[in-house]
C-alpha cells in the first residue's frame, strides 16, 4: 500500500503537470472533508438530547479559535468544490484549449468566495 502511494507520487513527479497535482489535491481534500463529516454529524446529533445540549455544543464551537479552523475548512472545501467543477467540465468535453480558461474561471470564483467567507468569519470572530 505504501509502495502504491509512493509510485503514485513518483508518477506525479515524473508527469509534472498541474493536472496531476490537482488530481492528488482532490483526493487529499476529499479525504479531509469526509473525515470532517464525522465530528460534524456528532455535533449535530446533540439535538437529540434536547435544545439545551445542542446550544451548549454549538456555542462551544463558535469561538474565535474554531473560526480559524472554519477559515481552513472553507479553503479546503472551495479547493475541492471548484477543482471538482473543473474536472466535471473537462470530463464532459471542454476542448483542451478551454481547459485553461476553466481553471482560471474556477480559481477566480473560488478566490472571491474565499475572501467573502474569510471576511464574514473575521467579523464573527470580532463579535459582529
Amino acid at each position: 500500500m505504501l509502495q502504491t502511494a509512493l509510485s503514485i507520487l513518483r508518477e506525479a513527479a515524473l508527469n509534472n503537470r498541474a493536472g496531476m497535482w490537482a488530481w492528488i489535491l482532490q483526493r487529499l481534500t476529499g479525504l479531509a472533508l469526509a473525515l470532517y463529516l464525522i465530528p460534524h454529524l456528532v455535533v449535530l446529533s446533540s439535538a437529540r438530547q434536547g435544545a439545551a445540549a445542542f446550544d451548549r455544543m454549538t456555542a462551544g464551537i463558535q469561538t474565535p479559535i474554531w473560526h480559524v479552523f472554519d477559515i481552513g475548512l472553507l479553503a479546503v472545501f472551495l479547493i475541492h468544490g471548484f477543482n471538482g467543477l473543473r474536472i466535471v467540465a473537462v470530463d464532459t468535453g471542454a476542448r483542451s484549449r478551454r481547459q485553461k480558461s476553466w481553471l482560471v474561471a474556477m480559481a477566480v470564483i473560488g478566490g472571491i468566495l474565499m475572501i467573502m467567507g474569510t471576511v464574514g468569519l473575521i467579523r464573527q470572530m470580532m463579535g459582529k
Binding site: R27, G30, A34, R48, Q62, G81, V88, G120
Partner: protein
Amino acid sequence: MPAMDQPQTSYDTGIWPWLLQRVTGPALLIFLGVHMFVTHFGGFHILTFAKVAERFRTAPVFWTTFDSLFLIFVVFHSLNGLRTIIYDFRPGPRLRLAATILLWIIGIVTVLLGLGILIPYAKAGG
C-alpha cells in the same frame, strides 16, 4: 501499448459511480452554498436549536426535503470518493467487493443516524 496512453493511476470504478460522483458533486456545491448562508452567515451567525426549529416551522416540507437530500448526497459523494481512493491502490477483486459492501453499510447507517437528527426539530415544529 495501451497502458501508456492513460495515466497509470486511473482505475475503473464503474460507469455509475463515476457518473453519480459528477452529478452529486455540483449539486453539493449548491446545497452547501444555501447551507452556509442559512446556518452560518446571513445574520444567523450564532447557531441555536431555536433558530433551526424556526426554519423548520416556516417551511417544514422544503427543509426536510432539502436536509435529507443534502445528507444523502454528501454521504454518497464522500464514501464513493473514498471507494475511488481505495481503487487507486489496485486491490484484488475480493478486497474491492468487501470495501464496496462495507462502504454501503457505513453509508446506510450514517444516513439513518443523520435523518434521526431531524426528529427533534420535527417535534419542536409540531
